[in-house]
């Protein structure tokens, strides 16, 4: 599978969840695990550009696909992706645990709806839990990301 543009092997243990594989086998701990039953959204990554729950996929299922995690949005030292930048400007994160999942969900949302309506924004952020912010600043961040012109999801290049 390609993860953030780099070819990576799948684990030999077929029981391994994609979330655990990313975090512990590949060292990409930016994707978080909050519930392991698909409700909280902390584990959201992009599968071929679309947001999915990595806790609801077996790692072996990702073979042949492209995964983008939070680490893949901006290179080390490079500028933040517009969605990340927008979250920063709007105080869209507090403890930061739900944040990677939210950011990936919003990247996916804006890839499909670059100029989303209020309803589309609500639908787009409706599937992620946040316990800290009360969501208001996250809504503001999505609107700000639209202003900053978040690019369409593209395949991460190496």
């Amino acid at each position: 599978m390609k993860v953030n543009g780099v070819e990576r092997p799948a684990p030999s243990d077929t029981r391994r969840l994609l979330s655990d594989h990313l975090r512990h086998d590949l060292g990409l701990t930016g994707t978080h695990v909050g519930c392991e039953h698909g409700v909280c959204g902390c584990c959201t990554v992009l599968l071929d550009g679309a947001p999915v729950r990595s806790c609801l996929m077996l790692a072996v299922q990702a073979e042949g696909h492209e995964i983008t995690t939070i680490e893949g949005l901006a290179r080390d030292g490079a500028a933040l992706h517009p969605v990340q930048q927008a979250f920063h400007e709007c105080h869209g994160l507090q403890c930061g645990f739900c944040t990677p999942g939210f950011v990936m969900s919003v990247v996916g949302l804006l890839a499909q709806h670059p100029k989303p309506t209020e309803q589309e924004i609500e639908e787009g952020i409706a599937g992620n839990l946040c316990r800290c912010t009360g969501y208001a600043s996250i809504r503001r961040a999505v609107n700000r990301a639209v202003e900053l012109g978040a690019p369409a999801a593209r395949r991460a290049t190496s």
Partner: protein, 231 residues
């Protein structure tokens, strides 16, 4: 493959099955992952309805022009299924095969009088919606059968799907699907059930859970039926 394996489950979208695995509530010896089977993800027009193959993701059906044109009831219903992220992986056939009594798509199939095509080493057969759902999380599929296609008849007006849930995207406490003059209910019986709009709660014995008693469910059925047929 299914025929040759003891205690196997089909893995398609995984959005219902993998939580059960994570909880260690489902413990199949084998998982048969059908996601790599090519050519099984089409959504197309057939016989005056929409055919949805096994690997068509719920999100794809949600975005499908065919579906929106031929069966906008299906499009509306899909929008109520969980959240978009789940729909990116979950499949329509998977939802039907999982047969959660509180889910929307089985009731839509029933209200429309649709059917599914299932396949095994013994060949293919059609199962009508009326025969498909046999109990809570139970269908008429044999252990070695895979659902390869679902067919939703056309409806373009006088349709509605209404549900009461606690949060946006949750399973329904009670739900009503109207397709023309016929109606199906979900969340109030072990399977989706047809109902008479004039007497929607007849014969219903809903169960109770944390968010709804039987009485509340019956009440909601009456309220939602009124609202679905008011237009």
């Amino acid at each position: 493959m299914l025929a040759s394996l003891e205690d196997a489950k089909v893995l398609a979208g995984g959005q219902s099955l993998i939580p059960l695995l994570n909880f260690r509530l489902a413990r199949p010896q084998h998982l048969v992952d059908i996601n790599r089977i090519a050519g099984l993800d089409r959504i197309y027009e057939r016989d005056g309805g929409v055919a949805v193959q096994a690997l068509a993701r719920q999100a794809d059906v949600e975005d499908s022009q065919h579906a929106a044109r031929i069966c906008p009831l299906l499009t509306s219903a899909i929008g109520l299924v969980a959240h978009r992220v789940i729909r990116n992986r979950g499949t329509v056939c998977g939802s039907l095969a999982h047969a959660d009594p509180a889910s929307e798509l089985p009731a839509v199939l029933l209200a429309l009088g649709g059917n599914v095509t299932v396949r095994s080493v013994r060949g293919e057969r059609l199962i009508a919606a009326e025969q498909l759902f046999t109990g809570v999380f139970e269908t008429a599929l044999a252990p070695d059968e895979v659902m390869v296609e679902a067919w939703f008849p056309e409806v373009v007006d006088r349709f509605a799907i209404l549900e009461e849930s606690r949060r946006h995207g949750d399973f329904a406490l009670a739900g009503v699907v109207r397709a023309g003059d016929s109606m199906a209910l979900f969340g109030v019986a072990p399977t989706p059930v047809r109902a008479d709009p004039q007497n929607p709660t007849a014969g219903l014995q809903p169960s109770a859970d944390l968010e709804a008693t039987a009485e509340f469910r019956l009440h909601l059925v009456r309220v939602l039926t009124d609202r679905a047929f008011a237009a």
